[in-house]
């Protein structure tokens, strides 16, 4: 089966079997038409197919009369910064991000540096469906310009807004696994800027990723082993376009990627505003952190576009997801792995804390995640059947079915990438979580197989 999915701020698919050069050209034309001939920033990650999709996007954008600032291999949050700095009309990042090898995607960036929100994303989709793109005549075609030399100003405008002096003074030894992705273009300058001593693995940029690029605990084995054998203050894992961060303690223990957002929030909330936006699948650790700091958590559908858009409207100080993406809203409307790492380093430096101490402050919950194969034509039917199963819980139907009770919650939703249903259960009491998880899997399976 072909694998291709359209979101509000992205399209993604399996290269050659779903995501094709022609589709990317069409979406670039739709986006160029939407932007109306203004400049568009274009970046790509290090996957083998990214130059191909980059060329297709470039051709489409130029044909609509948009000039393109081509920043080459570059992290997505840096592109999001460049869009604002250049006062461009928008941006396109060609990146499979956290997705497994074989996949690739386009992320569409709005003029404010955020990924396209759902309203604007739908306008681009309407233009795509309409298929009537702006066709610039030969003398009005866009021009391509190579964008270079922006890393310094990016760092000054993002990490530079933090307490850089105290981070520098702490002289931290920082290990980073950049998984052969775009972080390689920035990471040394980034750590140098913060006065940290760099210990880098999988730094060489290229298509052969050392491991699955999602920065979850199971993909941080290399980093764990490194930190057990050398002296370092913290280890970070980022994905290929650096919108997600995972953390390994100085003792060589990988934290769940769910910890990144609450750990940063605990630090940021201490300064004042404690309003943050997250998605329905994210750990309730963030709720407990907000309670402790007297704050408020707002939940939305899954996806950076939704979370950031809501955070803009709620004047939230933070936005984040359990997958390791965090945005410091007053600085940038982007899940920015560099800024996230800088915030963690700032939290360590300002309080003189070890990363294991900061992690130890987070409440301990058990989160169980499962997948149930379900053909795409059955997925929504199953969700519909399932929505009534949660008596007594507080039900949210904005993305699949989420039900919350005082001590635990369940979330069942359709995957954005695969023909599966994702099931998540989290709670305080491990036994209860195991029981509810098993029960939920059984009930979803029963609906999937039609024996209700």
């Amino acid at each position: 089966m072909k694998q291709f999915k359209i979101g509000n701020s992205w399209i993604r698919g399996v290269v050659g079997n779903g995501l094709t050069a022609e589709l990317v050209t069409d979406f670039a034309c739709a986006y160029g038409t939407y932007v109306g001939g203004r400049e568009v920033v274009l970046v790509r990650d290090t996957r083998a197919s990214s130059p191909m999709f980059g060329a297709a996007a470039l051709a489409g954008l130029l044909s609509t009369g948009c000039s393109v600032a081509d920043a080459g291999v570059c992290p997505t949050p840096v592109a999001q910064y460049l869009v604002r700095r250049r006062r461009a009309g928008g941006g396109i990042a060609v990146t499979g991000s956290h997705n497994a090898a074989g996949w690739n995607a386009l992320k569409f960036i709005d003029e404010d540096g955020a990924l396209l929100n759902s309203i604007r994303g739908e306008e681009v989709l309407d233009l795509y469906h309409l298929g009537e793109y702006t066709k610039a005549s030969w003398d009005r075609l866009g021009k391509r310009e190579e964008a270079t030399g922006f890393v310094g100003s990016y760092l000054a405008a993002t990490a530079g807004t933090l307490n850089v002096e105290s981070i520098r003074a702490a002289k931290l030894r920082v290990a980073v696994d950049t998984v052969n992705g775009t972080a390689g273009a920035v990471i040394r300058e980034f750590l140098g800027f913060l006065g940290c001593e760099p210990i880098l693995i999988n730094e060489e940029m290229g298509p052969d990723f050392a491991h699955d690029p999602a920065p979850s605990a199971r993909n941080m084995r290399q980093l764990e082993s490194l930190l057990r054998h050398i002296e370092a203050d913290v280890g970070f894992a980022v994905n290929t376009d650096v919108d997600r961060v995972g953390i390994v303690t100085e003792k060589g223990v990988a934290l769940s990627e769910e910890c990144t957002f609450p750990l940063v929030a605990d630090h940021v909330f201490a300064r004042g505003s404690a309003v943050a936006v997250t998605n329905l699948s994210t750990s309730m650790m963030i709720d407990r952190v907000a309670e402790r700091r007297g704050g408020r958590i707002i939940r939305t559908k899954i996806g950076e576009g939704y979370v950031i858009f809501r955070a803009v409207n709620e004047d939230a100080v933070l936005a984040g997801e359990g997958s390791g993406g965090v945005a410091l809203m007053p600085v940038s409307r982007a899940f920015d792995g560099f800024l996230t790492m800088a915030l963690v380093l700032e939290a360590m430096a300002e309080g003189g804390h070890r990363i294991s101490e900061l992690a130890g402050r987070l409440p301990a919950f058990l989160m169980k995640k499962g997948e149930i194969p379900c053909s795409p034509d059955r997925v929504y039917h199953v969700l519909e059947e399932f929505r009534g199963f949660h008596r007594g819980g507080q039900v949210d139907l904005s993305d699949g079915v989420r039900a919350a009770w005082p001590g635990h919650w369940i979330h069942v939703r359709a995957s954005n990438t695969e023909p599966i249903l994702r099931v998540i259960v989290e709670g305080e009491d491990p036994e209860r979580v195991e029981r509810v998880f098993a029960d939920t899997l059984f009930r979803v399976n029963t609906v999937v197989h039609g024996k209700s």
């Binding site: 399996v14 290269v15 050659g16 079997n17 094709t20 050069a21 022609e22 990317v24 050209t25 069409d26 670039a28 034309c29 996957r47 083998a48 197919s49 130059p51 191909m52 999709f53 060329a55 297709a56 470039l58 051709a59 489409g60 130029l62 044909s63 499979g96 090898a101 074989g102 996949w103 690739n104 793109y133 066709k135 610039a136 005549s137 030969w138 003398d139 009005r140 075609l141 866009g142 021009k143 391509r144 298509p207």
Partner: protein, 453 residues
């Protein structure tokens, strides 16, 4: 009414107007069709200097890469240099991004096979079938190959030409030469060739980032700048190229543009001095070629208009030289493609060996006048037009119907043919006397127009 569309998809490639029909979608799909046809090896991509080359080249790159081909980016590169390089590097094929002599709003893709020749009709049909079926080879992320830049194509091509001609004999004469590169692809290669041939040269219109200073077809009305420069300097000879540098026209310091038919004639004259082998030209080329060939004792074959038709005939009869009367010289010993650089080199060698001026050499040849006319004509009327022309004018003529209709009498011929690329009919007449040629051409044109409307 005739229908003039801004898109032409044919065995000659795909050609369209940027901003109307030549969209990145179309170009990507065609490149993917060609990549599916060519296989997973290197495909060389070069372009002329049209401003739309950037957009089109990106779309070509995306389409080729999506099929698992490796893209070798030659940048701005003359078509004959792309062809030469494809053959020399054993690439799987090439794509030339050029609308040749067409106005600047046009662009086109021309497909080159692994031998460095344009695809013939049968191969081009295969690519068209793949395009129309839309079943392109798709490769996974891991199988996508990269883009490699290659800047040496013009130098490799130049070396091939310098090996063929007597460089020293040419260089000893220190010819004074002017050249008009029309800000086209020739600008990146022509100065170096003239330098290597020891010429004192003045090159005009060599800014590849500027639009064409005049229509890029190297015909007399477009060559006024070159004529002026040639006069001022008092050059031995001046050359004009088209945008992709496959065609060549000659300008004399004293007589101005001498007509592009002389380009092939002079090249034939030089090549036949050493090679006693047949000549192949298209049906519209001057009969001067027959006079020169018969003096050298070799046969002349005529092929359908279109570079690949002449090339295939040249290869079939083991010909020494040939080409097309619009300034396209083909010398198979260098490579069997229209090549303005090969043309310049052998014509300079002709001047060197004859020890005469360009004007003296021309005066030593029989004189003919060629008159060319064209008029809009819907494609479905072309057959009727041709039959009527044959009825009305064919008395006493040798008739050749392989490309439109060509009626040949002793020292005079009339050809009427439909264009392969536009809904127009072209009329050609050649006769020793210009007035006679014009009268016949106008009569034929009138007949065509009557039937076309």
């Amino acid at each position: 009414m005739s229908r003039l569309t801004s898109l032409k998809i044919s065995v000659s490639g795909v050609r369209g107007i940027v901003g109307q029909s030549l969209t990145p979608q179309l170009v990507t799909a065609f490149a993917a069709a060609f990549g599916s046809y060519a296989g997973r090896g290197p495909v060389l991509v070069g372009s002329d200097t049209r401003p739309s080359r950037h957009m089109v080249a990106q779309a070509v790159t995306a389409g080729l890469l999506s099929t698992g081909a490796e893209v070798v980016d030659l940048g701005i590169c003359p078509v004959p240099s792309i062809q030469y390089m494809v053959a020399r590097t054993k690439a799987f094929g090439g794509i030339a991004i050029t609308a040749s002599h067409n106005p600047i709003e046009w662009n086109a893709l021309k497909f080159i096979g692994p031998e460095g020749l344009f695809l013939n009709q049968f191969r081009a049909e295969e690519v068209l079938d793949i395009y129309h079926q839309g079943e392109f080879r798709r490769v996974s992320d891991a199988e996508v190959r990269g883009v490699r830049r290659e800047s040496g194509a013009c130098a490799v091509h130049r070396d091939g030409i310098l090996k063929y001609v007597d460089r020293d004999a040419i260089a000893r004469r220190k010819f004074r030469v002017a050249v008009d590169c029309v800000n086209g692809a020739g600008a990146v290669a022509t100065p170096a060739l003239l330098e290597a041939l020891g010429c004192e040269f003045t090159a005009i219109h060599t800014s590849v980032d500027e639009p064409f200073p005049h229509s890029p077809e190297p015909v007399a009305e477009n060559l006024q700048d070159l004529v002026r420069v040639a006069r001022q300097i008092g050059v031995d000879i001046a050359f004009a190229q088209d945008a992709d540098a496959d065609r060549l026209a000659i300008v004399s310091a004293t007589r101005g543009a001498i007509g592009e038919e002389y380009t092939v004639a002079l090249a034939v004259k030089q090549v036949l001095k050493r090679a006693k082998a047949p000549v192949v030209v298209n049906l519209s080329t001057t009969q001067l070629v027959e006079d020169i060939a018969s003096a050298a004792g070799v046969e002349v074959y005529r092929a359908k208009v279109g570079e690949i038709n002449v090339t295939e005939k040249l290869l079939a009869v083991n010909g020494a030289v040939g080409g097309e009367g619009n300034g396209g010289v083909i010398i198979p010993a260098i490579h069997p493609c229209r090549d303005s650089f090969a043309g310049m080199a052998v014509i300079l060698q002709l001047l060197a060996e004859e020890g005469k001026s360009l004007e003296e050499i021309i005066d030593g040849l029989p004189r003919y006048a060629i008159v060319k006319r064209k008029t809009a004509c819907p494609s479905e009327r072309v057959f009727r037009v041709l039959r009527r022309i044959e009825e009305a004018f064919g008395a006493g003529a040798v008739v050749d119907r392989s490309d439109g209709v060509r009626l040949a009498w002793k020292r005079k011929w009339l050809q009427v043919r439909g264009s392969n690329t536009e809904p127009i009919v072209r009329v050609f007449v050649e006769a020793p006397d210009e007035e006679e040629a014009r009268q016949l051409a106008d009569k034929a044109l009138e007949e065509v127009k009557r039937l076309a409307e």
